[in-house]
Symmetry: C3
Subunit: 274 residues, 3 copies
């Protein structure tokens, strides 16, 4: 499961086109460079499709959605579909406003995604139109824990089948389902939610792994989620050892991604197959 | 003065809606998470008011003002006023261009703010339309020091009465006035001006403190200003000890905010009541 | 060559107006503050020219080009030309899309630049309209090394004459030409390409050096390129010593810029005159 995927990124340096938010865009670019991919950010409708056409993956993130870039997302997404380039969606804050929920729906209808990554509130909003997110974080009712795990796996499975795409629902535990296979990943820690953009960065990482491994999108997604979680653990250890704080945690996280190797992935992954 | 305010943020995790600039937006999000609040950035007119309506505070920052977001600011501000949600203004660069000064005026006329935080040049521009700022920094004639302090306190007081809102004028010393009570805060240091966004971050922090303590906006503002100054002192100490530089100073600043407690606030605050 | 230029920035604190991309804008602001300049970011057409008119230099960067800001770039550039304020262009990703290449051409036709800084692929695209960039990085065919150096110097020279402006082509080696004098700079290292925005930051630094030394633009450009390369070397040394990673490399880079002095510049510069 963990052999060859990271190496493929380092060898191919896939170009990952991100149409994303301006809050975490710098971190997304840096984490893509750290893992070995090559980021490009371009969101004007005059070039979005053309930039996608030279890319190995397209990541669409609605974190600071605005009217101007929706058209670019659709043009880029259609071009990616036409050329069989993997498209990954991060429905940031879906459920927090009608505009975000409706736009996320519209994207789902227009574009064929290969992976959707979000917290449980966001994925629920995509599934049903229910609005239970608290801003961009999962609401308190939407936590993934031992007692809710089984039902959330079922939900991920049915959502994945419905939208015909890999669902990556991330939180205290991460659930990845393609409708048939399901993985639960126990890496990471709650301190990562004290950094803005860990979700966005993970989605961009998924773009990097999928771009370099387009024939094995499920494994690529699992690799990305484990990579983020393992590096989050390494970063927290360092933060605690030096008694620093959350800004240092972010620096360590990207540092660890830049030094990650497949041995660490294999040894560190806490993963269950259902 | 320093009991309960920080604890309230950590307990309530107030949602703070920021309509802000793309230069420092990531730092604003991270410092809000570090203090214990929950940031959301949303600036499209299709969702601005709706996002405000689920938030505990609204922060409007005109740092990279553009036509598209002015309407969003007004829609969000009006909604906040309707729902009695505190609105904080950061008039970045007011006085540097007619567009910024006029927009700041327009916002003042349209929205009832609870706190306005800026440097002396910006607040003077808001008061009189005079244009003496040097870009986004206070001009050399607008420094707060021992000899100018008294007159600036008087100015803060009269400005506060005029706009019916708490004035927080920050610089080498920080002056906070609600027109009746006045505080001078001596925390912080000049190195903080070597990091972009310390002003923006402070304004977002004020949003966090006000969002969690809506009944005591004056004390909340004082807490935020002291928190920033004290953490700036801690960060500088660490920067000097390790002989690093200004990028490390920013990392340490947010680190310190993430570890701040009320004992440190009480022990560290250098504050005078006038 | 290295006497007085950095000191001039520290003494004059030139205001540098950046119309730039939202990926690396925070780093550009922080590196300008670190070197001793004062950054201002403003890209709305209602204020762009006015902000330029109070500035000492204008930096135009097309990294996340969009329709809204092109007009601002042109208004600001024309105002700068009118007032003899140096204008620096960073044609990020020129060649990667028709939109970027054509806009870069349009800017070249409309505005008189004093320095253009880009990688070899970008400058080739500006020269001939050839599209060989790989996203925002130089393509593999466009690397600067011992065997290609001489021909690239000739290219820089002829490009510089053609566009009547200093050409700074940066990569493994950096070539600066004003059509008559040519410098090759050997500072820096390949790890810097693992941080997003080293190119953008360098272009902003050139803006700072030119803004403080408007009578000696060629020397100012050489100083900026050497400063970036030397600090990149210092930062890498520190990263290796502490066994950290690429996010730490960025922090160290800006730290080193904030502590740079002219003695370090003189001792560290690896420069050849042709």
């Amino acid at each position: 499961m963990f052999t060859g995927y990271l190496t493929a990124i380092r060898n191919k340096s896939p170009l990952v086109h991100n149409i994303t938010n301006y809050v975490t865009v710098n971190d997304c670019a840096n984490i893509l460079l750290a893992i070995g991919a090559s980021p490009i950010m371009a969101d004007d409708k005059n070039e979005a499709a053309e930039i996608t056409s030279i890319s190995n993956a397209l990541v669409i993130n609605i974190g600071t959605l605005n009217e101007r870039t929706i058209e670019s997302m659709i043009l880029a997404g259609r071009k990616a579909n036409e050329l069989n380039i993997p498209v990954i969606l991060d429905p940031v804050g879906a459920g927090a406003s009608k505009f975000r929920t409706e736009t996320a729906y519209r994207l789902l209808e227009t574009i064929k995604f290969c992976v959707i990554r979000g917290n449980l509130s966001e994925i629920k909003a995509l599934n049903s139109g229910s609005c239970s997110t608290k801003g961009v974080d999962a609401s308190n009712n939407d936590q993934i824990n031992e007692s809710t795990l089984e039902s959330i796996i079922e939900f991920a499975k049915s959502f994945s089948k419905k939208v015909d795409c890999i669902a990556a629902i991330t939180g205290a535990m991460d659930i990845i389902s393609n409708g048939v296979e399901n993985y639960t990943i126990y890496n990471g820690n709650s301190h990562m939610s004290k950094i803005t953009g860990t979700g966005c960065m993970l989605t961009s990482l998924i773009g990097g792994f999928c771009g370099a491994n387009p024939e094995k999108l499920m494994d690529a997604t699992v690799n990305a989620v484990c990579a983020m979680g393992i590096c989050g653990e390494q970063a927290l250890e360092k933060m605690i050892a030096e008694n620093s704080g959350t800004a240092s945690l972010k620096v360590h996280l990207i540092d660890c991604i830049s030094k990650l190797n497949e041995d660490q992935l294999k040894a560190g992954a806490k993963i269950e197959f259902q």
